[in-house]
Amino acid sequence: SQTIHQWPATLVQPVGSPLSLECTVEGTSNPNLYWYRQAAGRGLQLLFYSVGIGQISSEVPQNLSASRPQDRQFILSSKKLLLSDSGFYLCAWGTGGAGGELFFGEGSRLTVL
């Protein structure tokens, strides 16, 4: 069966520090991968999605970046965090296309101080 792992679960970072969130999927090949951000009490904002290795689509101009170095690995990064980067970051995978429901990881709660 397919599983998705996301870490770290919680982190507190100072403004200006770097960020790296990692997500891996097991039990499937060539998945679509997604990073969403959820501000407190708000909806899900699509940040990046990837349909294959090295293929990244960026949805929102920001100081975040994403990379997909391996088929089932998706990394969200920042060189210098801002206060506004605080939120709940969710990685998800899907099969893509019209039948593509998403399966979410447990999420990473980031607080920037």
Binding site: N32, Y34, Y36, G41, R42, G43, L44, Q45, L46, Y49, V51, S57, E59, L90, G94, G96, G97, A98, G99, G100, E101, L102, F103, F104, G105, E106, G107
Partner: protein, 114 residues
């Protein structure tokens, strides 16, 4: 840009009352999905609708996709405390029918009082 709006933003109901959340897209969708997120948790897939005018039921939950494929609704009959959470719709194919890109609605937070 593409937008998927949901109303209401919040809904408080007494246990046993019905609940409905509405989802509206600025553009025609190829499909609509619904997710539920429990407090502190991550979104979990409930259902997908693809056809114009489609209606699907899951026990006390009824999902509908509009004829123009630009709106959808989720109706819960006789709510229970286990229904508490935030319900999101998510639209696929908003942009040039790119079904790889799933845009989530703003969500409706449901609170059920016993």
């Amino acid at each position: 840009g593409q937008q998927v709006m949901q109303i209401p933003q919040y809904q408080h109901v007494q246990e046993g009352e019905d609940f409905t959340t509405y989802c509206n897209s600025s553009t025609t969708l190829s499909n609509i999905q619904w997710y539920k997120q429990r407090p502190g948790g991550h979104p979990v897939f409930l259902i997908q609708l693809v056809k114009s005018g489609e209606v699907k039921k899951q026990k006390r939950l009824t999902f509908q996709f509009g004829e123009a494929k630009k709106n959808s609704s989720l109706h819960i009959t006789a709510t229970q405390t286990t229904d508490v959470g935030t319900y999101f719709c998510a639209g696929g194919g908003l942009e040039a029918y790119n079904t790889d890109k799933l845009i989530f609605g703003t969500g409706t937070r449901l609170q059920v009082f016993p």
